[in-house]
């Protein structure tokens, strides 16, 4: 039906379809640029990712390179500047920290890094024991940033994806917007809802928390050999570092599994050793805790013959 002096439905349909395509294109092209400016976290991750890709086994002056990878337990538990200072003469240490990541994010993330040519002398992957056992990934963000296209079939198998989610991962691998939309939404909500960060910690879905010894050890038996295989394939030493925990996390059992399959598991502070006063929230270390933990980590790396 033609409106008086206006558009008819046919024109409206065409304009709407074209408009939708343009909006999609704008988000697709614009989201990485906007996020890089708006989000310090995204900017940091991009910088760290780029640096990690360029890593070679030694620096031009002959020092072995070490990549520390992990989530907020690493970001808040290890003081990078202090570690640099303590190890500068012997090792070149760099970091790749992505919040809310678990084992599968890192298994595929490290695979992709290594496929793309990154070759640090050693990788220290910092994950809690429950995160080692978790089936959680960052979803579309994971598919875009950490999963390589050729690993899609393996990712489908490992994460037991249905076809619809698998297809979404396929699209997200190539799409900036699908990968970034979670972060975009978070930025908008931080503006709209005061105290949103605290609320997000409660309502975000991070998958079920795993604390049964049998499950944790069982998953370690499955997953540590996968890290060992990755280490052999690319000739890069891989170490699992279990950050401090207030409660029993069965890290000693997992250390034994690591010894059996050839993946060193570092437990630099046994569960319960650090008092609650060294944690900011019962999970992440505070300034004092991270200072002590960084010293221990520096000492541990110094002792290696990498």
């Amino acid at each position: 039906m033609q409106e008086k002096g206006g558009w008819n439905a046919r024109t409206g349909f065409i304009v709407l379809v074209v408009g939708l395509a343009l909006i999609l294109l704008a988000f697709e092209l614009g989201s990485p640029i906007v996020l890089d400016h708006l989000s310090r976290t995204e900017h940091r991750v991009e910088v760290e990712l780029k640096a990690a890709r360029a890593l070679r086994p030694t620096t031009p002056d002959g020092r072995p390179t070490v990549l520390l990878a992990g989530n907020s337990l690493l970001l808040e538990g290890v003081q990078l500047d202090k570690l640099h200072d303590e190890l500068a003469s012997k090792y070149e240490v760099s970091r790749l920290g992505i919040e809310q990541t678990h084992f599968l994010d890192w298994y595929f993330g490290l695979r992709r890094l290594l496929q793309e040519g990154a070759r640090p002398s050693a990788i220290v992957l910092a994950l809690g024991t429950d995160q080692l056992a978790s089936k959680f990934t960052l979803g579309e963000e994971f598919a875009h940033r950490q999963m390589s296209a050729r690993d899609l079939p393996l990712a489908i198998q490992e994460t037991n994806l249905d076809r619809t989610t698998a297809s979404t991962y396929f699209f997200a691998h190539w799409s900036n917007w699908l990968a970034d939309k979670g972060v975009i939404r978070q930025r908008v909500l931080i503006i709209l809802v005061p105290n949103f960060r605290a609320l997000a910690g409660r309502i975000a879905d991070h998958g079920a928390h795993i604390h049964e010894q049998e499950v944790l050890v069982g998953m370690a038996k499955k997953r540590l050999p996968e890290l060992a295989e990755l280490s052999r394939t690319y000739g890069v030493k891989i170490v699992l570092m279990v950050p401090p925990a207030l409660r029993e996390d069965y890290s000693r059992d997992i250390q034994q599994v690591g010894a059996e399959v050839g993946v060193p598991v570092w437990v630099l502070s046994p569960p319960g050793e650090y008092p609650r006063s060294l944690y900011s929230d019962g999970y992440h270390l505070n300034q004092q805790g991270s200072s002590d933990y960084t010293s221990r980590l520096a000492e541990q790396i110094r002792q290696q013959n990498w």
Binding site: M1, E3, G6, W7, N8, A9, R10, T11, G12, F13, V15, L16, V17, G19, L20, I23, L24, F27, G139, E140, E141, D162, R163, T164, T165, S167, T168, F171, S175, W177, L178, K181, G182, V183, I184, R185, V188, L189, L192, V193, P194, N195, F196, A198, L199, R202, I203, A204, D205
Partner: protein, 467 residues
């Protein structure tokens, strides 16, 4: 395929473009193949089950139509009903009844080890079973001639926009549309595209965000049930399920319109109902009218005295509740609605009381809360969990995150409330439906921007997919 995923958008675009390049019969063949692909995307074994069930009803309907002997016709009808409900019963209710029987026997001191089967519920089985039953009953009662083309009948059952979660299409409404040629209509297609945009807004922005608060409240992530936690969970789930299912229905209707089909309206601002009866005239209308026509009226409806009317209401709603899922929570939810309908009928009769605008809004707020309480049973994992949640209404607790949770909920529920106020006052099917084309284009584009900015970041399956 979920409607809010890239694969569905791509699938829909390819299907619509290819479909309009074909002639009528080829359109039907192509749509049947596309619908089977859409369904088999989950698991091809479920596709075989659906095709098998379609074939059986196709032939039974022809036999019913070709036979004049009333006893044979009745036997064929009974055979179809037994087959349809046996398939549904086996896949959906076997473990539920086995488990419940086990509990009953244990209660009287008999230890019985009843088998529990590892059965995966085929998607959409409740929906297509009801559609098949409606078809057989309509053919039996002479309201509809039996389809002589398997292509047409198969497409009527499996047309992909309604296949998984409705709206449950009436044979007399959809089958003739399948049987007649369809022509491109820009008005219909434009409306369809806008319905899809509004549906995606309802699902991705409203429902998926409200789901975060509802899930946190019902899982205990916001703390033990208390007045605040229960209210948050109750309100969040009320808007989640409404946004989710009405969004799904809009996308289904819009997708169908892009191919020249018309689906019945499934929701009409249900939270503006001023009685439970009114609620069921506005909520999941394709199911409520199905239950009315194929269950409540055959049971006798309100024609056999007051007591039988209440019995029929209760029975219809109990079975309607059970249709949603194999759990006592759904039965209780249905029972609560049935009992509310009966009480309402007893107290109010057919005469409206407390008329006037203020009373109307007070009644709406009251009914909204009655419905919200019933959602607690619908959402909870067990009757015990639902009861614990409701007991929380009498306890007080506070966390610093609660104001943010209420504000978060308001940010996502108020837009839907405003949208419903507009639809209720304008009588439109979607926002700006009666406005100039430019306004409607602007609305569609605005929906796209809001979805891109605020859509929850991980796809959540539509709630009604599990039914």
């Amino acid at each position: 395929m979920l409607f809010d995923t890239p694969i569905y958008i791509l699938f829909l675009c390819i299907v619509v473009v290819a479909y309009w390049r074909l002639g009528f019969r080829n359109q039907n063949r192509f749509l049947l193949a596309a619908s089977y692909l859409f369904y088999g995307w989950w698991d091809w074994r479920f596709l075989l089950l659906m095709i098998g069930s379609t074939v059986i009803d196709y032939f039974i309907a022809i036999r019913i139509a070709d036979t004049e002997d009333p006893r044979v016709r009745k036997s064929l009808l009974a055979l179809s009903l037994v087959i349809n409900f046996s398939i549904l019963g086996f896949f959906k209710y076997f473990n539920f009844f086995a488990d419940s029987l086990g509990h009953v026997l244990a209660g009287v001191g008999i230890k019985a080890s009843l088998p529990v089967l590892l059965i995966i519920l085929p998607p959409g089985i409740s929906f297509y079973t009801f559609q098949e039953v409606a078809y057989i009953v309509d053919v039996y009662s002479g309201k509809l001639p039996a389809s002589r083309s398997f292509l047409d009948y198969g497409l009527f059952i499996s047309l992909f926009p309604h296949l998984i979660a409705g709206p449950i299409q009436r044979p007399a409404h959809l089958l003739p549309q399948v049987q007649k040629p369809r022509h491109w209509d820009s008005d219909k297609a434009f409306d369809g595209l806008l319905l899809i945009m509004e549906g995606l807004f309802r699902k991705c922005v409203i429902a998926d965000n409200c789901a975060l608060v509802a899930n946190a409240a019902f899982s205990g992530a916001l703390g033990k049930p208390s007045l605040v936690v229960t209210l948050l969970g109750m309100y969040a789930f009320a808007w989640q399920i409404y946004g989710d299912f009405s969004g799904y229905s809009d996308i289904a209707r819009g997708s169908a319109q892009l191919m020249g089909f018309h689906f019945m309206v499934n929701f009409r601002q249900p939270y503006f109902a001023d009685s439970i009866q009114d609620f069921w005239r506005r909520w999941h209308m394709s199911l409520s009218t199905w239950l009315r026509d194929y269950l409540y009226i055959p049971l006798g409806g309100n024609r056999k005295g007051e007591a039988n009317t209440y019995r029929n209401l209760l029975l219809t709603m109990l079975l309607g509740g059970l249709w949603h899922g194999a759990n006592w929570t759904f039965v209780f939810w249905g029972g609560q609605h049935g009992a509310s309908l009966a009480v309402e009928r007893k107290l109010m009769g057919d005469t409206p009381v407390f008329s006037g605008a203020v009373w109307k809004w007070l009644k709406r707020i009251f009914i909204f809360h009655v419905v919200c309480i019933s959602w607690v049973f619908f959402r909870a994992q067990s009757l015990g969990a639902a009861w614990e949640m409701l007991k929380g209404l009498g306890k007080w607790s506070w966390r610093p995150e609660f104001p943010a949770a209420f504000l978060f909920l308001a940010v996502f529920s108020i837009p839907l409330l405003l949208l419903d106020i507009y639809l209720e006052t304008s009588g439109a099917e979607y926002c700006f439906a009666y406005s100039p084309v430019r306004w409607r284009v602007a609305f569609g584009l605005a929906c796209a921007v809001v979805i891109a900015l605020m859509g929850a970041n991980q796809a959540n399956a539509f709630i009604y997919f599990q039914f």
